[in-house]
């Protein structure tokens, strides 16, 4: 229990540190949100109008006052409203986050479904044609940036063959088929890196386990090969794979920025980019805070799962 409490307390402290750093950093970056909003399209706003907007948005208040108001809001679960259109930050996140999580979930599912079986098969047939081909493919896939993969998919499947839409989004409730179709390409693009990582990690981990005594014993007992693989090899090999998966799922939250942009998938990344460009302080702080909290939560869950699988970790 102490282990769990320690981990949760550490995660909460990290959330506060992240919130503070992001708040200070975004305010230190040059750029006046009021001036930027009124300069959209390259036009020049009148300084008196800019001053009026700054006053209305509360940007003239001392930074310490703004920080205290931000922390008070945070304690109430209120992340403020957008400087651009007064829309509640929490509502924006509630609208966008499920789409980003859906994309990550779809990409991760694809990566697990392809990477783990392929890695296992390659390890069990080490040095064979599949192992060599899959290892080379994994290295190649890892080397290609995600935006190149995305652009190639659009060029081939949308523009040339015209069998898939180039990008966009339709809510699932309005048109489930179109929704899933639009999800396909971004999910493939986001899955490619994680698939290669899971393939390599599974292959390496299975190779470590496959020569161990308990596996040899299981085989000697005459267990069915599939049972040996599933119960005695994979179960022991998946702990490091799970750790890597947890870490990479967190990283996928960042990786979605490019994928969402390339495929026009309206997840959390678009408002984050737009908010950074517009110096929309509450929106930037709120989104990064939520993403960081998610990242920390995923890592916390991974730690707890590993501790459940391996009791030595709990006492370390």
């Amino acid at each position: 229990m102490n282990f769990v409490l320690r981990r949760v307390a550490l995660a909460l402290a990290l959330v506060w540190i992240v919130a503070t750093i992001v708040f200070i950093a975004i305010h230190l970056v040059p750029g006046d949100p009021a001036e930027l909003l009124l300069s959209t399209g390259g036009t020049a706003p009148d300084p008196a109008t800019v001053a009026q907007l700054r006053d209305r948005l509360g940007l003239d208040l001392p930074l310490s006052t703004q920080y205290l108001a931000f922390l008070q809001g945070l304690l109430r679960g209120d992340l403020g409203t957008s400087l651009v259109d007064d829309y509640p930050v929490l509502d924006e996140i509630a609208l966008r986050l499920p789409r980003t999580l859906e994309l990550i979930a779809a990409g991760t599912t694809l990566a697990i479904l392809i990477g783990v079986p392929a890695g296992t098969w390659a390890a069990l047939n080490r040095g064979g044609p599949f192992d060599r081909a899959a290892s080379a493919t994994a290295a190649f896939v890892l080397a290609i940036p995600v935006f190149v993969v995305g652009t190639l998919l659009i060029l081939l499947l949308a523009q040339t063959l015209r069998v898939m839409p180039a990008g966009g989004y339709v809510p699932f409730a309005r048109n489930p088929g179109q929704h899933l179709l639009l999800l396909t390409l971004p999910a493939l693009a986001i899955a490619k890196g994680l698939t290669a990582v899971l393939f390599r990690m599974t292959r390496s981990s299975v190779l470590d386990v496959v020569g161990q005594d308990h596996v040899r014993t299981a085989r000697a007992k005459g267990l069915h090969p599939s049972r040996v693989v599933l119960r005695h090899i994979l179960r022991n090999a998946l702990s490091p794979v799970l750790t890597v998966l947890g870490l990479h799922m967190g990283a996928l939250l960042g990786g979605t920025v490019l994928v969402e942009y390339v495929f026009n998938w309206p997840g959390l990344s678009t408002p984050l980019l737009r908010a950074v460009e517009a110096r929309d302080y509450p929106m930037v702080t709120g989104i990064i805070l939520v993403v960081s909290t998610l990242f920390l939560t995923i890592n916390l869950i991974t730690d707890l799962l590993r501790a459940a699988l391996d009791p030595r970790i709990r006492t370390a």
């Binding site: 970056v29 006046d32 009124l38 390259g42 109008t49 949308a158």
Partner: protein, 506 residues
Amino acid sequence: MVPTRRALLGGLATVPLLHHSARAQARPGFVRYGLSAFPPNLSPWDNTGASAGTVKMLLNRSLVAWNAKGELTGELATSWGLDDQGAWVFKLRQDVVFHNGEKLTAKDVAWTIEQVAGEKSTAHMRVQFQQLARVETPDPYTVRLVPKEKLATLPAWFANYNMHICWAGSDPRTPIGCGPYRLVRQERGTSIELAASPNYFKPGLPKLKGILFTAYPDENLRIAALRAGDLDMIEYVPWQAMASVETDARLRLDEVQGAAFMDILFNGTRPPFNNPLVRRAVAHAVKREDIVKVAFFGRGRPLEGVPIAPGTPYFDEQLSRGWAYDPARAKALLAEAGYASGIQAKMLATAQFGMHKDSAEIVQQYLAAIGIQVELQLPDWSTRVSLGTRGQYDLAVHGVAADSNDPDGLSVVMDTSLSNTHSRSFSLAAPRTSAAFAAGRAEFDLAKRVEIYKDLQRAALEEVPLVGLAWRSQGFGMDKRITGFKNLPGQLSTSSGNQLEYTDFA
């Protein structure tokens, strides 16, 4: 599993189904329009960019608008003119109803101007409308605008896409307009759906049943979506893709020249660019054809003078070449200014937009050739704006469109007597140019205005409040079956959204 011939054929057979599914959202009578940015808000008076302007022009109407020829035409106003006391009098249509069913009267116009010019207002046209002494409504369909000083350009203010007439009973945060379309729904950050207004005052318009605007901020994806058939029409076709749209049998490009221009701005508070001789040296140092080729893929033309729109009475062929490429003259001007040994300077642009960065890099090379060594600063756009407004640069490369094709529209970029902003030279003295702008605004006679603006060009060629670099074109890409849309000429291109009421799609 071993692949079989049957499995392969089965798989191939599904391809047409996928194709159908991918394009399943097309609907007759509706246009799917790719915006370059999702409107931050739809306030009819705040400036939130040209993409937002396109949507706002369909939800709202103003007293006048630009027509396809680039001329002012009546919208809510049937006529307008000056009375003998120098006030502008607008006569209103009597058949206009707002989206809530209320009839338009002069009080709505007065209320709108009151909102725009109010002390707490953040409207784009606030400063302009604060030049009015008073607004009078002698009868329900007449508005009389009395300016503090003579104002020849006042009617054109109402054609700006940030100046719409709204119902006087509206909540000022959500004003009600009387445009050809109504807002059906908005998928925040993603799409906006409009439907034709059943009580629009122009018979037979709008032609479309509805328009679905979807934001595609990435220009490459926007053009890919048009080619893939996901969209029927897009704005801001990237210059590098214009040729491929022209050659695509399904598509049409509506391109106008001179929709906007690139220029160099100066910091007038310190040497060496507070010296007009040095600024003239810069003006003669750059070969503009290279900017047109590199930054705009040939989709533009050199700008070697004041950015007066060609085709207007104010354009003068000879004056338009006043800053022609002449490196020998540039070196001589530098020597005359006392900088024969060269200059070190910092030039501000942004890496966020390719045209700004490419233009700046070419300018850097040409300035080096006459002895001006420039260090480029290429921050993101937001920082660029901030540094520009505070004058933290020696020279800056900028890109902008004037408010209209009338020379007075250039005052926002050239009249340095106005307050400092990122899109004007910083605290730079160009008194003759500024005086000419003031004179042009107060003159009603066209022949006299032409002479005033030719004088303005002569003054600007010597005072150099900015250096023109290149006109750039702007294009809309669309399915060939779309009819009735016209990209407005010159710097009115960003106002072309009002043409969507005439647009049809069989």
